[in-house]
């Protein structure tokens, strides 16, 4: 199970993948806020999350993890 440290790592990875400064990403950020967070970036984010948390995300959940809040809730619940 992921912890707050992992969530911070995930945000850093998202910032790198969507090529956006980390200070522009906060806990309320959503995929639709960033032009570069498209389906291609999303799958890269999911693979990175799986690498960080060492947990496989089921296919049916992949699309739902489209915001920092959704990612945090999924792993911190």
């Amino acid at each position: 199970m992921a912890n707050n440290k992992d969530i911070k790592k995930i945000i850093v990875s998202i910032s790198r993948i969507i090529n956006t400064p980390i200070n522009k990403i906060n806990k309320n950020s959503k995929a639709e806020d960033f032009k570069k967070w498209d389906s291609l970036a999303h799958i890269k984010i999911i693979l990175e999350i799986e690498r960080i948390t060492k947990k496989r995300i089921p296919s049916s959940k992949v699309a739902d993890l489209n915001s920092i809040k959704a990612i945090s809730n999924y792993f911190l619940k």
């Binding site: 032009k35 498209d38 291609l40 693979l47 296919s59 049916s60 959940k61 699309a63």
Partner: protein, 435 residues
């Protein structure tokens, strides 16, 4: 029986509504059985024989669902899911694609196998995708318990049975099981009726009137003029959008009468500023299905997902999407052109840091989509190319319009243009009315 049929609007729907909220008031279970019965009558009114096919797919997939949920052994669970998906794809392939496959075998191997000439059961394409999503949800433990009544209602719910939107089990059952949704809700009725009216107008006043000259263009025996080519192509672009989104609006409104919210399926797609953006706005629930259940699993099957591999996956997904629309190579070409459009869009985003003017992007996207739709509608390549030739024939400029176009069709065309580019969409209207 379709939604714009007077028999449905003036008899079937009011009757189901009255039974649901007045006769069966506070009898939650009976209300659900009524919706299932009404859904089967709705489907059987089109073709009674095919309702048995829908019943078969419901029964078989219910059993698969139970098996997947109850299996504690991961390997067994995996086998059940694989067999279930295989069954559903084969079921669809048999009824929808068998003649297409036979024709291609005959062509490739110079054979003369007889065609089966099976009539295609309405709704099966949507039911298949919805069922696959359900089975994966069972496998992923998003669904922990099912019963036949809930599952039958989920698949057969008549507002979204024929043409979607493709819905998820959890999203629907949560609403069906909510006690307050079994009571009459006047605000939902008010919003639902407005949305049904909007959908009906989109379908009957706009799409059907535009189809008058679109049909002439696509069936023209003689060479089309420049303006006829453009009128045919643009006309079909608006026709298909108003036809499909109008039908989905009616589905949304009808579901709302029963306090069920269906997900948005269109979000002003012609305002899209690129092909990626277009598929975030057009047939959204299909796009979500393709992304979740084909694009992501395929992408994850690569140990090292590079840009070129993900573009390859994108193309595969859109070839499947194209073929899903119907048993014809023209649909495959349509899918391939959309795959290509997405690859160009992704490549542009990755390799060029230009910020193009939004209006220009919108213009480019709309015209590219319009171009791809020529292949969607045309009977064959020859017919598609004759329209493209007319649209691009500026050297031998022929401005004559020989179509027999009623004034109402031209008005509908003008309205379609204004509505698409200058007005808010139904999804927005629903959100505003809810406030």
């Amino acid at each position: 029986m379709l939604f714009h049929n007077p028999l449905f609007l003036l008899f079937f729907l009011p009757l189901v509504f009255v039974f649901y909220f007045v006769v069966l008031k506070k009898k939650k279970l009976s209300q659900k059985y009524l919706l299932i019965a009404a859904s089967f009558i709705f489907y059987a009114a089109w073709n009674i024989k095919f309702s048995f096919l829908i019943i078969t797919t419901i029964l078989v997939n219910y059993i698969f669902g139970v098996k997947i949920i109850s299996s504690t052994n991961e390997r067994k669970k995996n086998i059940f899911l694989t067999v279930a998906i295989f069954f559903n794809v084969l079921f669809l392939a048999f009824f929808k694609y068998s003649d297409f496959i036979i024709e291609n075998i005959n062509y490739l191997f110079d054979l003369n196998l007889n065609l089966l000439n099976l009539p295609f059961p309405l709704a099966l394409s949507f039911v298949t995708f919805q069922t696959i999503a359900f089975l994966v949800d069972c496998y992923d433990k998003n669904i922990s318990y099912i019963n036949l009544r809930k599952y039958a209602l989920f698949i057969s719910f008549f507002p979204q049975l024929i043409a979607g939107p493709i819905v998820r089990y959890g999203h629907m059952i949560e609403q069906f099981e909510d006690n307050k949704n079994s009571l009459i809700n006047y605000k939902n009725i008010y919003i639902g009726l407005i949305i049904i009216a909007i959908g009906l107008m989109k379908k009957v006043l706009i799409a059907d009137n535009i189809s008058v000259f679109v049909d002439q263009g696509f069936s023209a025996q003689e060479e089309l003029s420049f303006f006829e080519g453009w009128l045919t192509s643009l006309g079909f672009t608006f026709q298909i959008y108003f036809d499909f989104s109008g039908y989905v609006d009616m589905a949304t409104g009808i579901a709302l009468l029963f306090n069920i919210n269906l997900p948005a399926n269109f979000n002003s797609p012609f305002k899209a500023t690129g092909m990626i953006n277009f598929w975030q706005r057009w047939h959204i629930t299909l796009s979500n299905f393709l992304t979740n259940y084909i694009y992501y699993p395929l992408s994850r099957s690569f140990a090292d997902l590079t840009f070129s591999k993900s573009m390859f996956v994108t193309m595969v997904v859109f070839l499947v999407a194209g073929l899903w629309h119907g048993p014809s190579w023209m649909f495959v070409i349509f899918g391939a052109l959309h795959g290509l459009g997405l690859i160009v869009n992704h490549s542009f985003n990755k390799f060029f840091l230009l910020n193009l003017n939004k209006l220009f992007c919108r213009f480019l996207t709309f015209n590219y989509v319009s171009f791809t739709l020529i292949f969607f509608r045309a009977q064959d390549l020859e017919s598609a190319f004759s329209i493209i030739k007319a649209m691009t024939n500026i050297t031998n400029f022929n401005y004559v319009i020989n179509f027999d176009i009623p004034t109402i069709s031209l008005i509908a065309f003008a309205f379609a243009f204004v509505i698409c580019f200058m007005f808010q969409n139904t999804h927005y209207i629903i959100t505003q009315l809810r406030k």
